[in-house]
Amino acid sequence: MLVTAIRSKPVYATLEPDLSGTFHLLVGQGSGGDALLRLLEKMPRGADAQVLYAAESRSGVDRSEPLSAFGAVQCRIFPSMAEVVACLDQVLSTCFMGTRLYVAGSESFIGSVGQVAARYNLTGDEAQSERCGSAARRVYCIHCKTSQENVTTNVVRCAGCERHLLVRDHYSRRLAAYMGVMADAASPGTLPPVEERLA
C-alpha cells in the first residue's frame, strides 16, 4: 500500500547530450556506467567532458574499464559513491556557467549528487539524471530522522527507532530520501501486508 499520486516522486529520463552547454560533467555509479557509455557515444568528438565514476554497486556491475578506455575524456574512477560525491563537490567549485551535469545510478546516488548540485544552484535545465539498476529507496524516518538504504518493501522497520514505517512516495530532494511514517500509529500492531514492491 504505497501512497501514490504524489508529485514530489522524481521522474527520470534517458541521458541525452545537451550541446548548448560548454562543459559536460558525467557522474555515475554501478550500472549507471552503461548510461554514461551510451551518452559518451552520442557526444560529438572534441566535446569538453569529464567522467567521475564509482565502481561501488549493489548489483556488482562495474564499468570502470570501458569508461577508462573510452579515451578523449578525462575519467576518474573511485571505489565508493561517497568519494565520487566528495570529488564532485570539489570539481563543481571550480566550474563555470555553461556546465551541464549528467547523473546515472541508483536513486540514492542521484539524490546525494543532487544535494551537492543544489549547493551550486544547478537547476533543472542544467542537470539530467537517469536511474539505473534497482528501484530500491533511501527511506527517512520522520520520527527519529534516521535514513536507511536499499529499502525495497512498502513497510520497513526503522533501524534507528524500530518503528514500522510506511514508505511514502513523498520524496525530499533536500534529504534525498522518501518519507517513512509510522505504519501502525492509528491501531498499534496492525500493519498493512508487507509487499516486495521495488526490487
Binding site: F96, M97, G98, A118, T123
Partner: protein, 320 residues
Amino acid sequence: MRHDEAIPVEVAAVEQVTPLVKQFTLRRVDGGPFPPFSGGCHVVVVMHGRGRTFRNPYSLLGSPRNVDCYQIAVRRHDAGRGGSRFMHDEVRVGTRLEVGHPVNLFPLAKLARKHVFVAGGVGITPILAMVDDLRSTSAPWELHYRVRGPEHDHFGRKLRDENGNRVHLYYGSHGQTLDLGRIVANQPLGTHIYTCGAEQMVAAVAQAAKAAGWTDSHVHCERFVAPPIGDPFDVHLARSGVTVHIPSERSLLEAIEAVGVDAPYLCRGGVCGQCETEVLELEGVLVHNDHWLSDEERAAAKKIMPCVSRARCTRLVLDR
C-alpha cells in the same frame, strides 16, 4: 490590481537627476507606510491629466527597507503617449497622484551564488532596489552600467560611491562599450544575470549568455515596452456591448478603461500576461508588441495583449 485599490499619494520631492530623468519621492496622503516591496518591483502610477488618465508602470528605486516613501525615476519621452511628459511638465511638489500596489516581475534569484547586473540608461532603476536587497546577503554581485555620457550618470556614480569596484561604468560619449562576451565568460556556477535597458541590450545579453552555455533559468530581464503609437482603429467589446475608438496616441487598454469597462492588468508593459484578451472577429492584422504571446499565438491572431498591442484593421471584436 485594480484602479479602485490605488493608494492616494502626494509628491514630496522632485529632482532633475539627469538631462532626461526626473526622480520623484511619493508619500501617502494618509501619512501611513506603503506596502512592503522587494527589489525589482514596479508600481503603476495613475496620473489624472486634463481629460485623460495615464497609468504608467515605474520601478521602485528606493530602499525596500524604507516604506515611508516610494521613489520612482521617469525618463522623458517626447514622442510617447504623454505620461512621461505629464510627469515632467505638470507634476511638482504637492501634486496628488495615485499608485497601485507593488508587483515584482523582475525578482532576484534567492538561491543565486552570484548576481551580475547589466543596465542601460533609466533601466538602472529596478537594480538600485535589488542591490539594496543584497546588502542582507553574502552573495557577490557586479554591475555593468552604460549611459550616454557623464551627465546621464547620476545613479551610476551614486552606486559606485557606495559599492566601489563592483560597479563598472561605461560612457557612450567616451566610446566605452559593454564587452558582453567577457562579462558572461568564466562566471562561477550558480550565477544569475539580470538586464534592464533598451530591447537591443536585453537581446544582446541573452544572446551572449546563451553562446557561453548559460541556460534560460539563469537569465532574467525587465523588458517593459511603452505602448507604441500607431494607426487609429475601432474595437467592439462584445461582452460590454460598446464600440470604442482607439486614437493613435492611446493604448487599447487605456481606451477601454476610458469608457468605464473594467479590464485586468498588472504590468501595462506587455510582459505579465494579465490583460490577455480573446479576439472574436478580425478583419485586418493585429500588431503584437508584447513579450507574452508565443510566435504561434501571434500567428493565430486569436489573442491580444491590449496594454501594448494594436491592430490595423477595419473590424476588431474582443471578448471583453
